[in-house]
């Protein structure tokens, strides 16, 4: 649905994006993460046809964003990282205004706006002035706005920023529902745990370069984290940890918080080795799990924290 090849954007001497290649399949939720100033917003603005790339190409639904700007805009719902408000419009009017701007037929606008208001739980605020809304409400309104023309692709730049936990959970559920409706969603956020839960694919960008793109499993492979295990044993864990540390396949085994954290040497995939060793040594194994890396950790491992 979204394809980017060799996308470059420079501002004078500053290179915001450098030969970015990316592919997002239809119906995916793609999490776009990176430090501040890494180039996430620039990429999203190019896709929303608001910025002209210096070089490279980007397609949405097969349409070149440079050449078919209007058609692309019909297919994209872009929510920027700030809320642009008209200080003299009411919530309903604001959405109706954008419904008209997206050329929805007149007879259909009010129904659509009402639906979108209900969807984003803003019905009770439809008569309030836009700039009198709280930050969280404005974010919801922003989301309502991008849904008003039923776009195929949603580009959401930090939609959960400034929201309370309940609203964040609601937005997460809403995005999952939108995915079920077949929307392709590109989302950036600094709350990585949320992205981890809802994204099919993740892209990590730093200093304008895409340093990783793939599924969470691919991140595990990339970081070699599938070879990390946590073992719980009956009795004190220290003797078991000492036993396992002596194995040539084990790089490290440490007892901590009533469990043993084991790091296997590179290339070791024999999970059964640990269980066998412990059982043969007469130690009862209470549990064995491969430790799942969190997106936060992956992000820290993959990026150096450098900004442009």
């Amino acid at each position: 649905m979204i394809k980017i090849t060799g996308l470059t954007k420079t501002y004078g001497r500053l290179t915001a994006l450098e030969s970015l290649d990316l592919h997002i399949a239809s119906g995916d939720i793609f999490g776009f993460i990176g430090p501040n100033g890494a180039g996430k917003t620039t990429t999203m603005r190019v896709l929303a046809t608001l910025l002209e790339p210096t070089a490279g190409q980007a397609w949405i639904d097969g349409l070149d964003v440079r050449r078919h700007g209007r058609e692309v805009r019909r297919r994209v719902g872009y929510m920027p990282d700030f809320m642009g408000v008209y200080d003299d419009l009411k919530v309903f009017e604001y959405l109706e205004f954008f419904a008209a701007a997206f050329e929805l037929p007149r007879g259909q606008r009010r129904k659509t706006v009402s639906d979108v208001l209900e969807l984003t739980d803003l019905t009770g605020k439809s008569d309030a002035l836009v700039d009198s809304l709280s930050r969280g409400m404005q974010q919801r309104l922003g989301l309502a706005r991008v849904l008003v023309h039923d776009p195929k692709v949603l580009i959401l730049d930090e939609p959960a920023s400034g929201l309370d936990p309940r609203a964040r959970i609601e937005i997460r559920e809403l995005l999952k529902e939108l995915k079920r409706m077949g929307k392709t969603i590109m989302i950036s956020s600094h709350i990585l745990s949320e992205l981890e839960e809802m994204c099919d694919h993740v892209g990590i960008i730093e200093k304008g370069r895409l340093i990783f793109a793939g599924t969470m499993d691919q991140i595990h492979e990339r970081l070699g984290l599938s070879s990390r295990l946590i073992v719980r044993v009956a009795g004190p864990p220290e003797p078991a940890a000492a036993l396992l540390a002596g194995l040539p396949q084990v790089e490290a085994a440490k007892a901590a918080e009533g469990a043993i954290r084991i790091t296997l040497r590179a290339g070791q995939k024999d999970d059964g080795l640990i269980a066998r060793t412990l059982v043969m040594a007469g130690i009862d194994v209470m549990g064995l799990a491969s430790e799942r890396i969190r997106l936060d950790d992956a992000f820290l491992s993959l990026t150096a924290g450098a900004v442009q």
Binding site: G84, R109, G124
Partner: protein, 647 residues
């Protein structure tokens, strides 16, 4: 701590400015526009001096050596007077513009409330802002001092004039700057501050003296000297004029008014305005800190909201807390596109009273939805009423005196009312796009599939709608006096054509500048500069060059620049087509022709350069067409540039 140290702690300069002055000076030194301002000021002053020199050089080169020396001394006086008047007028404008953002930018950035959480006092905020901007004024003033000093070599220029004109200029600029600072406490938009300050200056320096003069004349001259003396103290223009007269004819000041006294009065008024500002700024800051950005706007808005918000829904109708999942199916792509049978939206029906349906182009709808007076504050309406009230009084008085049978009063009133329409048009035209950029709604609008031309057209319609009330007084004046037969019916038509062309042109420049610039203040300032350069500076310089030119004839160029000038057109049309004795005029004008309705009606008399009605109308129509074409070209350029410099 010793007593002296304690006293010093409270009276040292830093106690009045705090860290604000330091911060402001640091920030302004990094702003390119300050350097641009200084360069432009210097260039402009040099141009004025050069053109003045061109004029007087011709006189100096004539006659014998004694008369040359005499001429040189007179030339010195002229140059000094022109330079002093230039800086007197220019610095007032600069002070108004510089101070217009003093407090409003803190409110705009949301930093005023933060400032008030520190031990900084209101006095330090106002003092710091004032001092930092005052510094720039002093620098600009200092730029011209070498010119004023050097010209003394010619002789005939007294130090007293150099000192008095500098002091009058500084005190006047300080006063208007303080008024601008005061208005900036209540207004986020600097163009609004500029407009209000100019309006105040017009009332104080033009309308009030005119009304006083009328009163004096009505009382048969009794007490006229007292009134003129009062004017000399409270009106710096009058004081400056007296000082200039005194320069040319020493001891000719009939009012025995000292410029020191006048400066003292102006400075006292400044202190009063600043005192009120110091008191008010804290209230505004506290309101902002507690989440209310303005003194009055929020209050009014809240009241409006209270009136418009629907009553709470009964429990049986209200959506449950988990409405999200319940309503999700309704939003599926197909469902959203499908025409729902019957069921009109529940909310829409309930709140239809306050919510208007969008018809036609959404941008046009939004622009027209904004009520003309909705966002205007009480003080704005009051100020406008005072201004219009004063003008109406003057018109009524002139009519009462039977002066309306002459064309001159009509010409003056039409020009004043035209200026009242022109000024808001120049400012409003430049706000169309930049206000959207500042409210960050511009990228949202550009992310829709609306065509550039459609968006721009909506903006243009909005500008015309908003500036329409400003032209109403002129329209009313012309129509009323046409109805009573004191203005010829062709005059309203010609004026309407002139105004239409100018409005279209200014809309074009405003929209184009809006696409180039990000800040409303910058766009408004740029549009004002365009209008000033085109309709004031360029004609003045060309006329001066024409007068002073010895070999090159500038007349055709001057005519080309001056004729399309809306002020010239409005003045000439009214002058020739108003009053009971409108056909009596035979005065020659140096431009391509004289306007209708001078006889003979069906011929073009080349010897006296008279124009027939058809020729006059054609000339005006050509100018209007030219402005329209230029406006359309700029409109087209704005469309091309619209997607650049979005953020």
């Amino acid at each position: 701590m010793s007593v002296a140290a304690s006293i010093w702690r409270h009276v040292r300069p830093a106690a009045f400015t705090g860290p604000i002055l330091d911060k402001e000076l640091r920030v302004s030194s990094r702003r390119r526009r300050m350097y641009v301002l200084r360069t432009a000021y210097l260039l402009l002053m040099l141009l004025v001096v050069a053109f003045t020199w061109m004029q007087i050089d011709r006189d100096i080169s004539r006659g014998d050596s004694i008369s040359r020396i005499e001429q040189m001394s007179r030339s010195g006086m002229i140059i000094v007077a022109v330079t002093a008047w230039f800086q007197f007028l220019a610095l007032q404008l600069v002070a108004i513009v510089l101070m217009s953002t003093a407090i409003s930018e803190e409110i705009h950035h949301g930093t005023l409330g933060t400032l008030m959480t520190t031990p900084i006092t209101g006095l330090q905020i106002v003092g710091g802002k004032l001092a930092s901007r005052l510094w720039h004024l002093v620098v600009l003033l200092a730029i011209s001092l070498p010119v004023l000093t050097l010209v003394r070599i010619f002789g005939g220029v007294s130090w007293t004039f150099v000192v008095s004109s500098t002091c009058i200029t500084l005190s006047t600029a300080l006063f208007l700057g303080s008024v601008s600072l005061y208005f900036s406490i209540f207004n986020r938009r600097s163009y609004s501050v500029v407009l209000k300050t100019i309006r105040t200056a017009v009332v104080l320096y033009a309308l009030l003296p005119a009304l006083l003069a009328m009163l004096t004349a009505r009382s048969g001259g009794r007490g006229s000297m007292t009134i003129l003396r009062i004017l000399a103290y409270i009106n710096p223009y009058f004081t400056m004029a007296l000082a200039t007269t005194d320069l040319q004819r020493p001891g000719s000041n009939p009012f025995a008014v000292s410029w020191q006294g006048s400066c003292g009065v102006v400075l006292a008024a400044t202190a009063l305005v600043l005192g009120v500002s110091v008191r008010i700024v804290r209230k505004v800051a506290l309101r902002q800190a507690t989440g209310e950005a303005g003194l009055f706007i929020r209050r009014r808005r809240r009241k409006r909201e209270d009136l418009s918000l629907p009553p709470p829904l009964p429990a049986s109708v209200a959506p449950p807390a988990g409405a999200l999942s319940m309503s999700l199916p309704a939003a599926t792509g197909e469902a959203m596109n499908a025409q729902a049978p019957a069921a009109k939206p529940r909310r829409a029906r309930r709140t239809s009273k306050g919510i208007r349906e969008i018809t036609g182009s959404p941008v046009v709808w939004r622009e027209l939805r904004q009520g003309t007076l909705r966002r205007v504050g009480v003080f704005s309406i009051l100020g406008t009423c005072v201004l219009l009230g004063g003008l109406i009084t003057m018109i009524a008085y002139t009519a009462w005196e039977g002066e309306m049978k002459f064309s001159e009063p009509h010409t003056i009133f039409v020009c004043i009312l035209g200026l009242l329409g022109l000024l808001p048009t120049i400012m409003l035209a430049a706000t169309g796009i930049t206000t959207e950029k500042e409210s960050r709604a511009w990228p949202l609008l550009l992310a829709t599939p609306m065509r550039e031309s459609k968006i721009l057209w909506g903006k243009a319609v909005g500008i015309w709608r908003r500036c329409l009330p400003a032209w109403m007084p002129l329209a009313l004046y012309v129509l009323v006096f046409t109805a009573v037969g004191l203005i010829h019916p062709i005059v309203p038509l010609c004026l309407a054509l002139t105004a239409a062309g100018v409005i279209v042109f200014l809309t074009g420049t405003g929209l184009y500048l809006g696409t180039l610039l990000r800040r409303t203040t910058a766009a408004v300032t740029a549009n004002i500069c365009v209008a000033l350069a085109l309709w004031v500076l360029l004609p003045v310089l060309l006329i001066m060059a024409q007068i002073g030119g010895k070999e090159v004839s500038w007349a055709p160029v001057t005519a080309l620049i001056t004729w399309p000038n809306p002020g010239v057109q409005a003045g000439m049309i009214t002058e020739k087509g108003s009053g009971e004795l409108r056909n009596r005029h035979t005065t020659e004008i140096g431009w391509p022709g004289r306007l209708w309705p001078n006889p003979p009606p069906n011929s073009y008399d080349r010897s006296s350069q008279k124009m027939t009605l058809a020729q006059s109308a054609a000339t005006i129509f050509t100018c209007t067409a030219g402005y329209t074409v230029l406006g359309a070209l700029l409109f087209w350029r704005a469309g091309r540039r619209m997607r650049k410099n979005i953020f």
